[in-house]
């Protein structure tokens, strides 16, 4: 996106999200002059703000609790202000998020909120094992599968998912602690993209969409 296409209210939105300031958030996203959230607002305001928050987590200037609350607040706004966004152009290709084997759901929850904030409508599979994931992806005709893991053994089992999906046109996007500590792990398990922040998942899907 060109710099002049980024909304000037991005810094204010970031501050409101990090401070969990619902009032300011509503003023920014639904101002009294009648402007409403639409595709343009998402692309020029919300996604850049979420991306910046992801970068701030990466550089250590915000904490995961703030990243989480920012995602939840954006999800609330999107859902309440424009509930019909889920039928738009962005959701022709189906997206699912899943936690593979672990019981630690926070990463998947944040990614889902950020995807919703970016106008997507991911299916949430919750905690699943490899066979369940393969069955669900096939049944639901998923195009982009976002997998979150916390533990190394679970991350390694993604290889069974990518093998099971080989040649079926499904793009696998992965993230979680093990991938932060081993830059080679994504390649090892056959992932199409590795994410280090929640907003990376939005970027990854956009890039993969552009390539397809």
């Amino acid at each position: 996106m060109a710099p002049d296409e980024v909304d000037t209210r991005v810094p204010d939105l970031i501050t409101a999200l990090i401070n969990m300031d619902r009032l300011t958030l509503r003023e920014i996203l639904k101002p009294e002059d009648g402007t409403v959230i639409n595709e343009h607002t998402i692309d020029t305001l919300i996604v850049p703000a979420l991306d910046e928050i992801g970068q701030k987590w990466e550089d250590g200037s915000v904490a995961i609790s703030q990243v989480y609350m920012a995602g939840i607040l954006i999800e609330e706004m999107i859902s309440s202000v424009i509930p019909d966004i889920r039928s738009d152009e962005k959701n022709k290709e189906r997206i699912a998020t899943v936690v593979l084997e672990d019981y630690h759901m926070l990463g998947e929850r944040i990614v889902t909120a950020y995807l919703i904030g970016a106008g997507y409508a991911p299916l949430r599979y919750g905690r699943r094992d490899v066979q369940e994931v393969l069955l669900l992806v096939s049944q639901d005709n998923i195009k982009y599968l976002v997998i979150s893991t916390l533990m190394l053994p679970s991350a390694l089992r993604i290889k069974e998912v990518t093998s099971g999906l080989a040649g079926k046109g499904v793009k696998v996007i992965v993230g979680g602690a093990p991938f932060r500590f081993d830059p080679e792990l994504g390649k090892e398990v056959g992932a199409d993209r590795v994410c280090f922040t929640a907003s990376d998942a939005v970027t990854a899907i956009r890039e993969l969409e552009a390539m397809s």
């Binding site: 550089d59 904490a63 609790s65 703030q66 759901m105 053994p153 602690a177 500590f181 792990l185």
Partner: protein
């Protein structure tokens, strides 16, 4: 003169130079794999875990025993179900606190009436009795601020922190009483010190201002009440932004990640003669290391950190993944002996 492991650890904790840099590795699952015993059976046996720790020390040259069975043992004491798997450490299952009313009525588990805690205490007693030398034993206790991640699940816990101060304080009070009982019981059983496992206090997890209202005050209140030395561990999360605060808690050591985003030499410099720094080999990445890489990384890690003692070489998380080959751990042991001898000349 060659020191014993106890002398080596105590000397470096006193900010003096021992005979060589101490090494702590904790490959919890490797002994069960070698014995061909399912993890569920192994980790439920105080005898097997104690023997496994002794065997690992003999094989890999670690200078201290980390006397614990699995991370979610305290969650289990509060009624949680531990999930065992055959390729990784036991993990916590579903949260045990899913309504506010459960916090209102939560009771502190009694150590002597809780089988999973007695299991760990039995292991420490066996280890103390059977260990062929005097290597120190460190018990492990989760901080009151970090235990709720397993008790409640991370998502609900974050919401609690931000939205229900009264119940948050209730939960912290209960967990604090439990922490003190649990830490004291491990010391009484034979542990020489306690690892205070507190990842939630890291600025990776909560913002600095929230840490200063919560994790810092909790640590300042509790650590000095433990009847033994306490080492603070942050589970691969950032520590540098809170380092000055952590130094005020009474801890004698800090286990750090300090990977690409933090400078461990800066952490060591700020901590000189205040606390011992423990770290920071990448336990995830070391699966791939060759012997040559292990030597190179150990050499680079030790360089500049060892001066004046106050440094223990270890991994970043306190538990070596099962997928790390023995050969890598042997290489780390050998490299520590080659490059870690004082005076250091790497």
């Amino acid at each position: 003169m060659t020191m014993t492991s106890r002398e080596r650890i105590l000397t470096t904790l006193s900010h003096k130079e021992p005979d060589r840099v101490p090494l702590i590795l904790n490959p919890t699952m490797h002994p069960a794999r070698d014995l061909g015993i399912p993890f569920k059976e192994y980790f439920r046996s105080p005898e097997l875990v104690a023997q496994g720790l002794i065997t690992s020390r003999e094989k890999f040259g670690t200078d201290a025993y980390i006397g614990f069975h699995y991370t979610p043992v305290e969650y289990e004491a509060f009624g949680g179900d531990v999930i065992f798997r055959d390729d990784g450490p036991p993990n916590s299952g579903r949260p045990v606190i899913n309504t506010g009313e459960i916090i209102d009525n939560l009771q502190v588990p009694l150590i002597h009436e809780t089988p999973c805690l007695q299991m760990v205490l039995d292991m420490i007693r066996i280890l103390k009795a059977k260990s062929p030398d005097d290597a120190p034993i460190f018990g492990v206790a989760l901080s009151p601020l970090s235990l709720p991640v397993m008790q409640m699940g991370f998502e609900d816990y974050i919401k609690l922190m931000y939205t229900d101060e009264i119940r948050f304080e209730k939960l912290i009070a209960i967990n604090s009483r439990f922490f003190l009982d649990w830490a004291a019981a491990q010391i009484e059983a034979g542990a020489d010190g306690i690892v205070y496992y507190d990842p939630v206090s890291s600025p990776t997890i909560i913002p600095l201002e929230l840490y200063r209202k919560t994790g810092l005050k909790i640590a300042q209140n509790l650590i000095h009440q433990v009847p033994g030395p306490v080492v603070s561990a942050f589970a691969s999360a950032r520590v540098l932004p809170i380092l000055d605060d952590v130094l005020t808690t009474g801890t004698v050591g800090i286990a750090v990640w300090a990977g690409g985003n933090e400078n461990i030499k800066e952490i060591k410099l700020k901590s000189t003669e205040k606390v011992t720094i423990i770290g920071n080999l990448n336990g995830i990445e070391m699966r791939h290391w060759t012997r040559e890489q292990a030597f190179s990384i150990v050499k680079k890690t030790i360089e500049g950190l060892e001066k004046g003692g106050g440094f223990i070489l270890s991994d970043t998380h306190g538990e070596i993944p099962l997928q790390v080959p023995d050969e890598v751990l042997y290489a780390i042991r050998d490299a520590t002996r080659e490059y870690g001898g004082y005076p250091i000349s790497v």
